[in-house]
Each structure stands twice: as C-alpha cells, then as structure tokens.
C-alpha cells in the first residue's frame, strides 16, 4: 500500500493523518464522557495508526516510472475485500434483526442490541458499507479502463476509500452507543457528515481528473452513471444534513428544516438515495461488467443514453410518494406518484437492454454462474421497479404503507438487484485485478448463486404474503364498523413469515460467506498453481466479433 506512493504522497498522507488525529483529540476533549468523546478518541486512534502505517513503509523505494504504463488497482483490490467484510457483518446483523422480529427476546436486555439500534446498523452496513465500497472499488476499475488512462495520483484513491470507511465506522459504532439524527439512511451526526463531504468531493474531483486524462474521445455510458451517483449523492447529502449542532462538544444537532419541509427534504433525499446510490451506481456496474463478461457490446447504446437521462431526471421528482396521505400538499403527492409511474419506462429500458444483450448468449448464461448473477440482477431490477411504480399509486400505497410489503419491495431491489449485480461484478473483476486465470472455484460460485437465489425468493415471497395479509387485516371492519382484528392479532399472523424470512436471509448470508472464502482463496492461490478444471472465465468467443450488430 505505502510502497505504491511517491515520497511526496507519503509526506502528504502523514500530514492528513496528523490533522485528522488532532481533530479527533479536539472532539475527544470537547466531548468529555459523552458519545462524542468516544468518537473523538476513535478518530484520534485511527489517525495515529495511519501515521505509523505510513512511517513503517516510509523508507521503501519509490515506485518506478514504469507504474505509469499500468492501471492503479491496489485501492480497487482493497475496496473489494472491505466490501465483502461489510457484506458479511451487515447481513449477519440483518439476519439477527430478522430473528429479533420473530423472537423479540433476542435483545438480551442490552441497550446496544435493541431493534432500534441494530436496524440502522444493518441498513447502513449493507447500503454504505457493502454497496458503497463495492461502488468505489469498481468505479476505480471502470473509469481507468474506459478512459484508457491511469488515475492521476496514488494518494487520493486511498484517501477516498479509507476516509469513506472511517465515515461508515463512525456511523455504525455511533448507533450502538445511541448517536443518531433519526433520518432514515442519513442517521450519522454532523461531524461524520462533514467528514463525508470532504471525502466525497475528493472522490468527485478524482473522477473528473481521470476523465480529463482520457484517451477515448467518447465517455462510455457506465461512467455517466457512476458520475451521476457521485454528484447527486453529494448534493443530497449536503442539503438533507444541513443542521446546527448543540455545541462543538456535543454529538446532537438540530435540522435546519422543520415539519413537513423536513419530511419532504428527508424523502427527497431518501428516494434519491435509492435512485442514485442503489440504482445509478449499480447500473454503471451493469453497463460495464455485463457486456464485458458476455463478450458482446450492449444491445443498444442509444437506448442506454436515453434511459440514463430518463432515470436521472425523473427520479428527482418521485420522493413524495413516501409521504402519501400526510400533511404534504395533495398536488405534491400526485406529482411524485405521476413521476414514479413514468419512471417505469427508463427503468425497463435498462433492464430490457441488459437482457437483450444476453439474447443469443443464453448458453453462456447457463454455463457461467457469474453471468447468471448479472442476468438475475437485471430481472429483479425489472421486477422491483415495476413493483415500485405500482406501490407509488396512492390507493395502492394506502394498503402497502407501514406493512412488510415495503420491506419485500426493498429486498427485491436490495438482494435481487443490488447484491446480485455486485456479486456478479466482483466475480468478474477479481480474476482481472489479481491477474488470475479464473476464480479459485467455479463450483463455489455456482453454490453461492443458488443459495442467493433461494434466499432472495424465500425472503421476498414471505414479505409479500405477510405484507398483504397485514394490510388487509388492518382494514377489515366488522358489521358494526369496528376493526375486526387488533394489532396483536396481525402480529401473531406475521410470525411464520418472519421465521421464513430469517431462514431465507440465513441462506443469503451463507452464500455471501462462501463467496468471501472463494475470493480469498483466489487471492491466496499463487498464479502458477493448477486450478480446478472447470473454468470460471467468459467462455471463449464462439461467434466472430462483428457477426452480430446489435441495436441498429
């Protein structure tokens, strides 16, 4: 890691770490015994540890000029491993939360293990820890290849990756000790938020600097999606987190917005977090790794451009569908609903584009589990966006809101789309990054695929059933006009579905653990060693390139 940095970069890294450690010490002093003090010490400790890491490699010889004729992949490698660690941790917590809903005793009377604290640990861990690291790692890979240019320096990608993980650690450790600003998907408090702004702006600038060095005249569409993800997340994060801290020595802050404005800002943020964090970035992965793995250009490049602009501009207006039947003006709800329905068009254009790219290569999908991961992801992307447009229709939402149907929709998207495209892309990129022939074991990729698919289907079907039953029970009236079921009745009816969901989640988690083992062994296995006979590479071209002219 340090050996890849030039002397100047090593010095600058030390300066950054020292400044970070000093900020940590300041917060530790100002925060006293309060949670902020704990975070201050944590920041100071990590800053000092980084200084030592850099110092220990300080005298290593500088990287030679030859480095400039290869891509800089070390941060991508680290990012992939870190993403997998987050995946296991956060899905473990997710499954714990799932069992907790079935058996509430499982909090063991400990504050940190209560549902309200574990749940955001799960959501932050999977979305930002797993998803975010995978996005950063793959974006570094994709931007360099599609630009045919090396990143401009070695320090800023490490700053982005490690700084981002510091944010994730502050977020997750904060929930355990009770730090939260109670905005879903934006729970971290002001100091963590400010840090993320610094990291994220560096990320954006790094991407632009790499694009500026590009040798390709046209910017490949995957980059547009990644850039939209970075830029819009920056805007959302800054606006939604405008807040005034109680004091510099206190973690608590108060939002700049109040009442219905606060709700609208939060769900403008929340829905666009879905759109640009959980969708746009992963579409970037899809548009790069799927054609590459299938060894076929995307079915229609034009369509990919049109759907890009459709998605970016329609999503911005859809957030109010989270606030149906609230104090939000009726016309704003209707606006959100209309845009959500229109969103189906570019969403299905992307899903269809991906599937049509595979049309004619179905034998590969059959034989190659990595490509199958990506295909299933495209299918679930189609399903969850259809479902989303449906849920956004106000009368439908009156049934689904507050029920497990929403949770089913979330995980059709999160497991079926986000996690599947990520695993597919990781299996595609790991052999490339570590310069291996193929993954350590193709059979384990296969096992992971089926565990993940079974887990997702069990999870999603359990929640669909449970959600609709729940919704119907809450609106069933007796002849005398009173509610037919008490809330507890509906809880009892949910129990079997909660157990099923927890089992489905467990399968999914086991699959991810197997995936991690497989990746680890791929990295550990020396290049020369003979590997398993079954190849896990794109199957050699059987159609001459150029024979198919898709999209025109």
């Amino acid at each position: 890691m340090v050996a890849g940095l030039t002397k100047g970069e090593r010095q600058f890294a030390i300066v950054i770490s020292v400044v970070l450690a000093l900020c940590g010490l300041f917060l530790a002093g100002a925060g006293h015994q309060r949670p902020l003090g704990v975070h201050g010490l944590l920041i100071a400790f990590l800053g000092i540890a980084t200084v030592f890491v850099v110092l220990s490699g300080y005298i290593a010889p500088e990287p030679s000029e030859e480095r400039l004729s290869s891509y800089y992949d070390d941060p991508s490698k680290a990012g992939i491993i870190i993403a997998m660690i987050w995946a296991i941790f956060a899905m473990f917590i997710g499954d714990w939360v799932a069992w907790l809903l079935a058996y509430p005793e499982m909090t063991f009377d400990a504050a940190w293990a209560s549902f309200g604290r574990l749940r955001p640990v799960h959501t932050t861990g999977v979305i930002f820890g797993f998803g975010g690291n995978a996005l950063i790692a793959t974006s570094f890979h994709v931007m360099q290849r599609t630009c045919r240019a090396r990143m401009p320096d070695q320090l800023s990608p490490w700053f982005v990756l490690l700084g981002y993980n510091l944010f994730c650690i502050l977020a997750v450790s904060g929930y355990f000790i009770g730090v939260t600003q109670s905005k879903e998907y934006a729970e971290p408090e002001w100091y963590a938020d400010i840090w993320l702004v610094i990291v994220w702006v560096t990320y954006f600038v790094l991407y632009l600097r790499t694009l500026a060095r590009r040798q390709e005249p046209h910017i490949y569409v995957a980059n547009w999606y990644y850039l939209a993800f970075i830029l819009v997340v920056a805007v959302l994060h800054i606006v939604n987190n405008l807040a005034v801290p109680v004091s510099l020595g206190h973690a608590k802050s108060y939002s700049a917005f109040s009442g219905v404005q606060d709700a609208m800002t939060q769900w403008w943020y929340g829905h666009n977090a879905v759109a640009f964090f959980l969708t746009a970035g992963f579409l970037g992965m899809l548009y790069y790794y799927l054609p590459k793995r299938a060894e076929r250009p995307i079915f229609s490049y034009r369509l990919s451009i049109i759907s890009f602009w459709g998605i970016t501009f329609l999503y911005m207006w859809a957030g109010s569908h989270h606030l149906h039947y609230t104090a939000l003006p009726h016309w704003v709800q209707t606006l959100g609903m209309t845009f959500s329905v229109m969103l189906l068009v570019p969403s299905w254009a992307s899903a269809g584009n991906a599937l049509l790219t595979l049309n004619g290569a179905w034998h590969r999908v059959r034989d190659d589990a990595t490509l199958r991961f990506m295909m299933v992801a495209a299918v679930f992307y189609g399903i969850s966006t259809f479902e989303g447009s449906f849920l956004a229709i106000r009368p439908v939402n009156s049934l689904s809101h507050y029920t497990d149907w929403t949770v089913g929709h979330v995980h059709a998207g999160a497991l079926g789309w986000v996690a599947f495209i990520t695993f597919g892309s990781i299996y595609a990129v790991v052999p490339i990054l570590w310069k291996r022939e193929r993954m350590y074991s193709a059979r384990l990729v296969e096992v992971h695929f089926w565990l993940a698919l079974a887990g997702t289907l069990i999870y999603v079907f359990a929640m669909w059933n449970s959600g609709i039953i729940q919704g119907l029970m809450w609106r069933t009236y007796t002849e005398s006009g009173t509610l037919a079921y008490s809330f507890i009745d509906s809880l009892v009816a949910m129990h079997p579905y909660y157990v099923a969901r927890a089992i489905g989640g467990l399968l999914f988690l086991i699959g991810a653990a197997i995936g991690f083992y497989n990746i680890w062994m791929t990295v550990r296995t020396a290049r020369e060693e003979p590997l398993e006979p079954v190849a896990d590479r794109p199957i050699a071209s059987d159609t001459p390139a150029g024979a198919v002219q898709p999209g025109e």
């Binding site: 290849r145 599609t146 490949y220 250009p297 490049y301 602009w309």
Partner: protein, 57 residues
C-alpha cells in the same frame, strides 16, 4: 420587495418542470439518434470488450 405571493410561486412550481423536462427529453432523443453520432456510439460500445492492456500513453 417584488410582490411574489404564494399563488404565483405555486403556479410556477407546478408548471416550469413541464417545459424544461419536455425540452430535455427532446434534446436527449435528438442527441442519441443524431446520425453522425452513430459511429462514436458503436465504437464506445465495443471499446469495453478489450481494455486490459494498460493505459495508452
């Protein structure tokens, strides 16, 4: 101060999006279908299939 009352603001908020989104969608479709762009797009679509040699210098 200009008298920008609530009704005017709401009327604007409710309608400006219509025009700018229409303009945007027409612009995008024209750009994507512009005949002289076809070559670049095809080239870009193929360019990702073989890109591991290292940066061009």
């Amino acid at each position: 101060m200009i008298d920008l009352d609530h009704d005017i603001l709401v009327a604007f908020a409710k309608s400006f999006g219509l025009f700018y989104l229409m303009a945007l969608s027409i612009g995008v479709v024209v750009y994507a279908c512009w005949p002289s762009n076809k070559k670049r797009f095809e080239r870009a679509a193929r360019s990702v299939l073989d890109d591991e040699e290292g940066p061009w210098r």
